[in-house]
């Protein structure tokens, strides 16, 4: 066999060397990527070991192919030198097994490198994650030039301005024109034509390191919150309406009840008429009996009831109070219009009652002076009496304490003066906006009462 033919024996080793070289290159690249992406030390170690084995295997294969070549050309000196260098020899299956293990190591390495890459934050991944946000975000430099914006903010700008977002200042101006302010927070609510609602906020941040300021604009999707808020508002309005309806109904139902009672009383009246008619008939049939007076009384009672039926529907609480005062020997001299309705009427009635009580219990007088006046600011009532002045400063307790609570609960002011004479006054003052106004002078003199 010629030497050229014998060279064919070197071919498998050369091919195997090329395979090992490829493995080595793959291993080296994976090792570098694993180090760069900060893969786990065990994974880097395994990749390093695989790469080292590849180097050894490649060297061994190259040495073997050189040996085969020297053998083909009968270069005994070279053969001796190579054999001297080769400390150990590996059978081919062992080499193949090692190569397979290295290949497996590198396949795993590929997976490890990919995983390590996913954990690493790059600029692209930052942009990608910002674009995935349901909220919009934008950063601009001191001149308003946009340096970063995500897809949501880009979309908002297109919907609001119809153009690409380049200048944050003009964009914010557009937002101001097309949005509602959120109380005093500086934030703006933007309602888009598709029904979505965004809350936009502009802030200026100072980068201490670069000594530069940046503008940050955020747009938070508030569509769901807005929907819930509207629902809550409508529910509140509904409840308020229901409450008002019930209160009105409560007022009316008292009248309904009264009407029912009147009906029941009328039935009784008719019974009384029947009774009187029967008694009259019996008396007329036998006029000699002493039933005449009884019949007369019955008809008088019927007459009273029928006249009451036609009469006005009773006195109101004020008239009743004044009549009672008169009945117990108290004269009430009232000057000014007592309110016919409104929440303050009930409180003033209570005050009148309290003043009459104080007059008869403590002051020993018989006349209560009541002055009422109404001006553009509201209503004032001042009460004093002809009894003796309190011996000491009046301490508010019981009725007076409760009265003050009621006056204040209705937005009024109550003033109590013990000397030189007892004066109880209260005002229900309002300004043009319906808000309560505190008077400058808390004391009301008798002269003021007299002047009025």
């Amino acid at each position: 066999m010629t030497a050229e033919l014998e060279l064919v024996r070197t071919l498998p080793w050369l091919l195997f060397s090329e395979f090992e070289l490829l493995l080595l290159m793959a291993g080296a690249i994976l090792l570098m990527m694993a180090v760069r992406r900060k893969a786990a030390p065990v994974q880097i170690g395994l990749l390093g070991m695989g790469t080292a084995i590849c180097i050894l295997e490649l060297s061994y294969c190259l040495l073997l192919s050189r040996l085969e070549m020297a053998d083909a050309f009968r270069e005994d000196a070279v053969i001796a030198a190579i054999e001297k260098e080769m400390i150990v020899t590996f059978p081919f299956p062992v080499l193949l097994l090692l190569s397979a293990l290295c290949a497996l190591d590198f396949v795993l390495g590929l997976f490890w490198v990919q995983k390590a890459g996913e954990r690493m934050i790059s600029l692209d991944s930052v942009k990608e994650s910002m674009d995935d946000l349901s909220s919009g975000i934008l950063f601009a430099d001191e001149k308003g030039k946009v340096v970063f914006q995500n897809l949501r903010m880009k979309e908002l700008c297109l919907l609001l301005t119809g153009a690409e977002l380049t200048d944050s200042r003009s964009f914010w101006e557009t937002i101001r024109e097309k949005s509602e302010p959120v109380k005093d927070t500086g934030e703006r609510f933007v309602r888009l034509s598709d029904g979505r609602v965004f809350m936009l906020r502009q802030r200026f941040l100072l980068n201490q390191k670069e000594k530069r300021s940046y503008e940050q604009m955020t747009a938070v999707d508030m569509t769901e919150e807005d929907r819930l808020h509207r629902r809550l508002e409508s529910e509140r309005a509904r409840q308020e309406e229901r409450k008002e309806r019930m209160q009105a109904y409560n007022r009316n139902v008292v009248q309904v009840t009264r009407d029912e009672e009147i009906l029941a009383a009328k039935i009784l009246v008719h019974d009384e008429i029947g009774h009187a008619l029967l008694a009259t008939r019996r008396y007329l049939e036998n006029p000699d009996t002493d039933q005449g007076t009884h019949v007369l009384t019955l008809w008088r009672e019927v007459g009273t009831l029928l006249s009451e039926e036609k009469a006005e529907e009773g006195e109101d609480a004020l008239a009743n109070l004044l009549h009672t005062a008169e009945a117990i020997g108290v004269r009430v001299v009232m000057d000014g219009p007592f309110p016919e309705e409104g929440p303050e009427r009930d409180v003033l009635l209570q005050a009148l009652h309290e003043s009459i009580t104080n007059l008869i219990r403590h002051a020993g007088g018989d006349t209560l002076y009541v002055n009422l006046w109404r001006n553009e600011e509201g209503l004032t009532m001042v009460m004093t009496n002809n009894g003796s002045a309190p011996k000491e400063e009046i301490v508010e307790r019981g009725g007076l304490k409760y009265l003050r609570e009621r006056v204040e609960r209705h937005g009024g002011i109550m003033r109590l003066q013990s000397r030189p004479v007892f004066v109880l006054s209260m005002s229900f003052l309002t300004d043009a906006g319906g808000r309560h106004i505190l008077p400058t002078d808390a004391s009301v003199s008798e002269a003021e009462v007299a002047a009025k």
Binding site: Q239, R242, K243, E244, R245, M246, Q247, Y249, N250, R251, V253, V254, V256, T257, R258, E260, E261, I262, A264, A265, K266, L268, V269, E301, T304, L305, E308, E309, A311, E313, G314, E315, D316, A317, N320, L321, H323, T324, A325, A327, I328, G329, E341, G342, P343, R345, D346, L349, Q350, H353, I356, T357, I360, R361
Partner: protein
Amino acid sequence: MEETKKIKVLVVDDQQMSRQLFEMYVKSSEKYELVYSLGNAMSADLYCQQRPVDLVLMDVLMKEGIDGLEAAARIKKNQPGIKIIIVTSMPEVSYLKRAREIGVDSFWYKETSREPILEIMDRTIAGEHIYPDQTPTLQLGYALSTDFTERELDILREMTTGASNAEIADTLHLSPNTVRNYIQQLMSKTGYKSRTELAVNARVKGLVISREAGKS
């Protein structure tokens, strides 16, 4: 009976015809003397403070000012010796309870009490305390008034003011969820489809009347 020995009666009822009937009953009896008649409870205690009164016939529901029970409480505070009979046509259960707490002597339902008012007056003056065993039974939807618990009636009473669940919860010191459960229970007992229907019917029948009822 001597004129001076007659029992002095004060009638307080804001409905004129009803008041007139009570006046008639009082006048028809030899034992009693009508000293005064009032159309509003507010002045009742004033009169009692200054004039001799032995017995007060007091209605509860007033068009304005304080109600009859509050007036009764004032009278009992200052003149505990005066006997008071509460007269009402409202089956509101809380009236009976409040009347007992105040120390009202007797309680009489205008339309359903079997005993005549004069008999109640006689027995009250004799020192008896006459209270009906229960309020008049009435129908509310599918339920009878006796089917409701005290707590349910408290909730129902607040509902008649138009208060929301949160407001009712606040007033009665309950949680809004508990209030919601009670309302559902009430609706299921009565068969009413809405809370407004339930509240309106409860109020119109007089089963529950809030303290603020009828006041502006």
